[in-house]
Structure formats: C-alpha cells, structure tokens
Point group: C2
Chain length 80, copies 2
C-alpha cells in the first residue's frame, strides 16, 4: 500500500505569523540561538491500489485541496 508524505510550506517571501510567534516563544524560553522558524503542514496519505499515476494524482490533490498554490509550496515523496 503506497504511502505518500506531503510537505506544504508557506512561500519564503511571505510573513509566517505562526512561525514568528513560535520564534518569540522559543527566545522567551531562553533559546537565543534560534534565528528563524517557519511552520508548515505535514500530510501522510495512505493509498490503495496500484502505484500507477500516483504522482499525477497527488499533484492534483495538492493543487486542488492540500495546498494553496498562491501562497504555498508543496513537495511530496512516495514511499512504497
């Protein structure tokens, strides 16, 4: 059963407000060596059936639902 790991990240030019908050929190906890924090999504999909067209299907899923291609980048890897 193929498993797909999808990583969705905010485009680098955009301000990551959530990451900024976590960054400040880490600094407050005493971790002064943290320079930047960016937060994205990690999605695990389990698929049934054959492995043909998986890459095409997952790319479609990302474009349509899993990521917002206007503001986010995505990449994925298929684990057989």
């Amino acid at each position: 059963m193929p498993q797909v790991k999808v990583y969705v990240t905010l485009k680098p030019t955009l301000l990551d407000a959530q990451g900024r908050v976590v960054h400040n929190a880490l600094n407050s906890l005493g971790y002064d060596n943290v320079e930047q924090v960016r937060i994205g999504k990690y999605i695990e999909l389990e698929l049934t059936g054959g492995s043909q067209n998986i890459e095409r299907d997952v790319r479609e899923m990302c474009e349509k639902l899993l990521a917002n291609p206007v503001i986010e980048n995505y990449r994925f890897e298929v684990v057989k």
Copy 2:
C-alpha cells in the same frame, strides 16, 4: 547555519479529525483510492552558532513547546 526539520504527528491511536475531513473532501473530489489521511506539522528551524548540543536543544524545544508529548510524536533531522 544549521537547519533543523521537525515533524510533529498525532499519535497513531488518536482520531485525527482534521485528517478525517480532508479524507472525506478527497473522496468527494473523486479520489477513491485514498485510504487514510493524517495531518501533522512540519517546522523548519534555523539556528545560529555551533552545532554542539543541537540535538539536545531541539529535543527540549519539542518537549516544551513545539509538540504536545501527551498526544503527539515528533522526530527531527539536523541539516548542516
């Protein structure tokens, strides 16, 4: 400048409500071959300074702030 990639996932025994919603949405879009969806967080940290104690520090950050160890698992990799 060392970069750390942190993956935070809900423990496998817990119901992933967000993943369930995305699963249903994917099925509605016609992707019937999706068996399970689980959604976690993907966090990129950029650190300054030397690379000593990085693993210990990041483990602490995860335990204290980045993950909730009661309901979540985490793993990370250090990219030099």
